[in-house]
């Protein structure tokens, strides 16, 4: 399987099942999770095994239902009722739902679906979501069409629909993670850029192991990746096309060490750090003109910049006060204002996609934390604590943070973890081997 596969995903499409009217009117029923306050009790739901409507669809039907269940349970907001508890089975996608059977097992939400194979070999996945206690569909039925290799994406699309209808917020399942895959001993690590689905599936390598690579970031469209590589023997910033894996070194002053590149929301401007004569400052580079501009001029360390989603401001870290702290400045440079004031050191700030929060790494009393604060520095909350947590990245909907957690000692290894911004639902992201520096893509189209 290759990354070219993702090109085909562009053809994945959803259409409403207008031609498949369901008895009863769609309504915005009482089935609703308000996740702004954090959910304590997950909402019980049932995924009926999707009905296979063609001989070649059986495996996909089973796998798609499974992935939907895993996606929703994985949020910590939902709890899947095991199939063994089901009283009735859905054997026909269009049969009336036996609400009493689902109420009896306390399924608040029911997901039904079917999988068929079109004459051109593509999969047709249909689903409906029911509010069991209101005895009504929640939203309209939807149909997704895609290549068989995209079956997981179709499961993610269904999950995003369910999540969004019940929570009122956009989902994040149909998204990808670019990260650094690590092998080898601690003092001679081999590092390669890799990309995978948000849940660790479909891993693809983007670079070989010949040079150290660090801290990739997706473009706002998810088609390109910025990262730092030691290809020349010195850390320098590169841009890579995810589909073709063609890469180019970005045009910045020769002889300089550059790192920490991130895109502006326009996808055309790159903000990064440049170290010269021992001093690290923040610059921008216009990708079309190749023109760079210096944003900070201080003898201190200025690095780890991150644009606000409206492109007007940059949050970054600086040790100008004597220790690593967070600052916000206008996107064209100008007087920075410090926003972190608690005990310890603060680094790697990342502006949330909603614009309301900044995620960061905090070091205090020998421990590392992932935390969030409002963009003025108020309401700081620490979400995690360990020997070494660092490098948060936001899910496209701003609800979940993924980060690197590294264990101590000679056999210490980094792994990817995710946590809800409520601080609940800490999970290890399943990947083969070790990994670090995750960066979340936008929701795929």
């Amino acid at each position: 399987m290759s990354i070219a596969r993702y090109l085909t995903a562009l053809y994945l499409m959803a259409v409403g099942l207008a031609f498949l009217p369901y008895p009863g009117h769609a309504q915005q029923g009482p089935l609703r999770i308000e996740i702004t306050e954090g959910v304590i009790e997950p909402l019980p739901f049932a995924v009926s095994s999707f009905v296979s409507e063609a001989p070649g669809a059986t495996t996909f039907a089973d796998s798609i239902s499974q992935v939907i269940g895993q996606n929703l349970s994985g949020t910590g907001l939902f709890r899947e009722i095991p199939r063994g508890a089901f009283i009735s089975q859905v054997t026909n996608f269009d049969s009336p739902v036996q609400y009493a059977d689902w109420k009896a097992i306390n399924a608040q939400a029911l997901i039904t679906g079917s999988v068929n194979v079109a004459s051109d070999g593509r999969l047709i996945v249909k689903f409906r979501l029911f509010d069991v206690f209101s005895e009504a569909p929640l939203g309209e039925g939807l149909q997704f069409v895609g290549d068989t290799e995209d079956w997981r994406r179709m499961a993610h699309k269904v999950s995003d629909q369910v999540y969004s209808r019940i929570t009122g917020e956009a989902g994040y399942f149909d998204s990808r993670i670019v990260f650094v895959s690590e092998t080898g001993p601690k003092n001679a690590r081999e590092k390669r850029l890799a990309v995978m689905d948000y849940d660790g599936a479909n891993l693809q390598f983007l670079t070989d192991a010949s040079a150290i690579v660090l801290a990739p970031r997706f473009s706002p469209q998810g088609d390109r990746v910025l990262y730092t590589s030691y290809e020349t023997g010195f850390p320098q910033i590169y841009e890579l096309n995810v589909a073709s894996v063609q890469r180019r070194q970005l045009n910045v002053p020769a002889e300089a060490m550059t790192f920490a590149p991130r895109y502006a929301p326009n996808g055309q401007t790159v903000v990064f750090s440049l170290a010269q004569r021992g001093n690290t400052d923040i610059y921008t580079l216009d990708l079309s003109s190749g023109q760079s501009q210096r944003l900070t001029s201080a003898p201190s360390i200025e690095t780890a910049p991150s644009f606000s989603p409206d492109g007007s401001q940059i949050v970054f870290e600086s040790d100008r006060s004597g220790s690593q702290q967070l600052y916000v400045m206008p996107a064209r440079g100008g007087e920075p204002r410090r926003i972190s004031f608690g005990p310890g050191r603060y680094g790697t700030p990342v502006w949330s996609p909603r614009g309301d929060l900044v995620a960061f790494t905090k070091q205090n009393e020998g421990r590392f934390h992932i935390g969030v604060m409002r963009t003025d520095g108020s309401e700081e909350r620490l979400l995690t604590a360990s020997f070494l947590d660092e490098g948060p990245t936001w899910s496209p909907n701003g609800r979940v943070i993924m980060f690197t957690r590294e264990t101590a000692g000679a056999t210490g290894r980094p792994a990817l973890f995710s946590v809800d911004i409520s601080g609940r639902n800490l999970r290890r992201v399943p990947i083969d081997g070790a990994g670090s520096d995750p960066a979340w893509s936008p929701l795929l189209q």
Binding site: E190, S210, I212, L214, P235, S273
Partner: protein
Amino acid sequence: MTLTRYALLLTAVAVLGACSTSADRFGTGTTDAAAGIGTSGLGDPSDPTSLAYFQQTVGDRVLFVVDQSTLTPAGQSTVAQQAAFLTSNPEYTAIIEGHADERGTREYNLALGARRASAVQDFLVTQGVAPNRLQTVTYGKERPLEVCSDEACYSQNRRAVTVLAAGLGS
């Protein structure tokens, strides 16, 4: 879906068919990930013009205090001897590697390593070494020398290493 899109789809599928099923288009690959100090061809340590002499007798590295890039008195003494060696052996050029321990965030540590390398470079220049013989590189926390998670190892990893190469100097 239009006929055009349909045709495009078939093309994409054809491309897929031609691809390997492996996640890895790069093969197993060889690597020279162990950047830093080579250990071959160092010469005779009793020869005061040899790389072995520089590493073992002069001392190729200096260590730093936590989150600091100022040379300690011991560090200054080592770098002064490095400068004397470079002055008497003008055929060498040097790349100074700056490193940090693992108790910091990745990009901050890159900046910190750059500072440490630069501190050594600056001191070498004040001791009379021509700036065009010197380059710096930071590895941040990417290439620890010692792998334990204790101060005994951290103190060895907070270092700047002067790596010599022959031939390119004036």
